[in-house]
């Protein structure tokens, strides 16, 4: 009986001492935050308010892929990325190797890892990370921007905001001018297809999700002179074969998921065989990362080049 009580006291002491050590760690973190606050600050307006960001932030953590693209376009390397633990996806995005720390998935980023990186700026997605805005703010100045389900225009706005936050306004202007030039060039190359209806879609095991005129890739394709076959205010629309055959787009762009695909079942159906895009051999399977996940100034140019290549190769 006595030994058991001793054990109890011992365990209580152990827990208390652990708590003390933890509290000590917490205190240490607070002091680093204070240090960084001595620097000059820039007020950045974003989707959830205005955040004061230290001038020329050096340690940036990003929680969506489009922000990686934006920083890449501005020549900045983030220290942490929510990369869904897929390093090769990031390598594909920045077209080469890059040193960074993974902070987990975009949906559930690991706050502990983020704070261990001691960032001076966090860029988060207003849709996915709205609920953890306050938590992120406690770690470092955070700006929340449009990424997921954002339109092409919103994405450009986010790019500009990131440029302001990182003190690269001039570089951003240059980059966007170059972007416009690239688009104009690409548009000329697909002159023949101007005005044709196009439907980008993500295909999975049980769903066919059309990307409408309000989606990022749909909006960008319209910039190139195509017309998205589904005009809508919502970015995505679930569809079945019947609706697809009603819409009957000239060009069909499929970003396939891994594994089984719904379209495999459709292929044996006469309705599929009678689609304009199928008859004219204008069904293209594209890389899902590039087309629907990256969403940024740099990768949209790659999407444009991909489109031109697909259409021209097919014509040969």
């Amino acid at each position: 009986m006595k030994t058991r009580r001793k054990l109890k006291i011992g365990s209580v002491m152990a827990i208390l001492s652990i708590l003390l050590v933890l509290a000590g760690c917490g205190a240490k973190q607070d002091s680093t935050n204070e240090k960084s606050s001595n620097k000059q600050k820039v007020a950045v307006k974003h989707e959830l308010g205005t955040t004061k960001v230290p001038e020329n932030p050096k340690r940036i953590v990003v929680l969506e892929l489009s922000f990686v693209d934006a920083l890449h376009g501005l020549g900045i390397k983030p220290v942490g990325i929510a990369d869904d633990n897929k390093k090769d996806m990031i390598e594909q995005l920045v077209n080469g190797k890059m040193k960074y720390t993974s902070v987990g998935t975009r949906q559930q980023p690991n706050l502990e890892v983020i704070s261990s990186l001691k960032p001076d700026l966090i860029i988060a997605d207003v849709q996915r990370h709205k609920a953890i805005y306050k938590d992120l703010q406690q770690i470092a100045p955070t700006i929340e921007l449009n990424s997921r389900e954002s339109t092409y225009e919103e994405n450009i706005d986010a790019f500009k905001t990131i440029a302001t936050a990182t003190g690269k306004d001039k570089k951003a202007e240059e980059r966007l001018n170059k972007h416009e030039e690239t688009i104009a060039k690409l548009k000329k190359e697909v002159k023949e297809e101007n005005g044709q209806t196009i439907l980008p879609a993500v295909v999975r095991d049980t769903s066919f999700q059309a990307h409408t005129s309000a989606s990022y890739d749909g909006g960008f394709l319209e910039k190139l002179g195509f017309k998205d076959a589904v005009q809508s205010k919502d970015a995505y629309a679930e569809m079945n074969l019947e609706q697809l055959s009603d819409i009957n787009p000239d060009i069909l762009i499929l970003a396939n998921n891994e594994g089984k695909l719904l379209t495999d079942e459709w292929k044996s159906n006469p309705l599929w065989k009678n689609l304009k895009a199928v008859k004219n051999h204008k069904v293209f399977v594209v890389d899902r990362n590039l087309w629907t996940r990256f969403r940024g100034v740099v990768s949209s140019e790659a999407i444009g080049k991909d489109t031109v290549k697909l259409l021209h190769d097919q014509q040969k």
Partner: protein, 333 residues
Amino acid sequence: MNIKKQRTSRYIIGFIGVFLLIAGIFIHVSVGSSSISITDVIRALFHPDNSKQTTIIQTLRLPRAVLAALIGASLAVAGALMQAITRNSLASPQVFGVNAGASLAIVVATILFPELHSKTTVYFSFLGSALGGITVYLFAAGGKVTHIKLALAGMAVHLFLSSLTQGVIVLNEDATDVLYWLVGSINGKNWSHVLVLLPWSVFGLLAAFIMGRSISILVLGENMATGLGEKVQWIRLVAGVIVIILAGSSVAVAGPIGFIGLMVPHIARKLVGGDYQRILPFSALLGGILLVYADILSRFIAYPFESPVGIVTALIGAPFFLYLARKGRKIKQ
């Protein structure tokens, strides 16, 4: 005289039911993103040609309508059997964790083996639904458990299994694709799915109908049933297996469509009395009707785009569940 009257009224109810089901299937087949008139529907069904309308109806809309009727019937009969063997009016595949178990098993299976055909996922579904059902049943088997407590235990198991499913989805970014399926949907299904489901549901439904008499006796009470020479444990076991087959195969094809198994047996009991020889076939008929019409409604939620039918059944079913829970309390007082 009275018995005769009851019998004729049952025939009338049955006749109206069959008529409603057939009418429902016709409406179901004529509703969709491309407008097709009833006359065209009839032509496509009985004088098929090579037109686009015929193809749409024969390869897309008809299998979906058939699937709705089959799944509705399966889930309703599964619910009726569960209410009988647990002698609990709140029992149904959803409330007692059978659907949630099947969902968990299927989500795990699709993540581990993405290439799996739905013919095989059915077996995972059986395993999962058995897991969920047996867990809850063990609570019930202890005896002396009140109806509400058993329903609470069932909901607890349901929520636990659902949270595991959600956890699996959160940890696998690619698995978010399953979310749509998780609400319960028969959008985009074709004959191959009907073929996956058909053998299981026909077998399960027939077996349930054959057991109707034994089930009725079981409901009278364990002692009475034993006295009448019924092997109570065996009936329970066989009925349980039928529930797993019916609910498991439905979930494997269409996801966990809720509330059908809860509502329909009550309506059937109201219409044809307490004999399970009648309740079971009538539940099958009414379940088919309910899901066919619910699936028609589901198309108008976000027209012309599709919404999962599970939303509609939940909209109708949740108030019904609350009504039953209230009624149960009143009787006790």
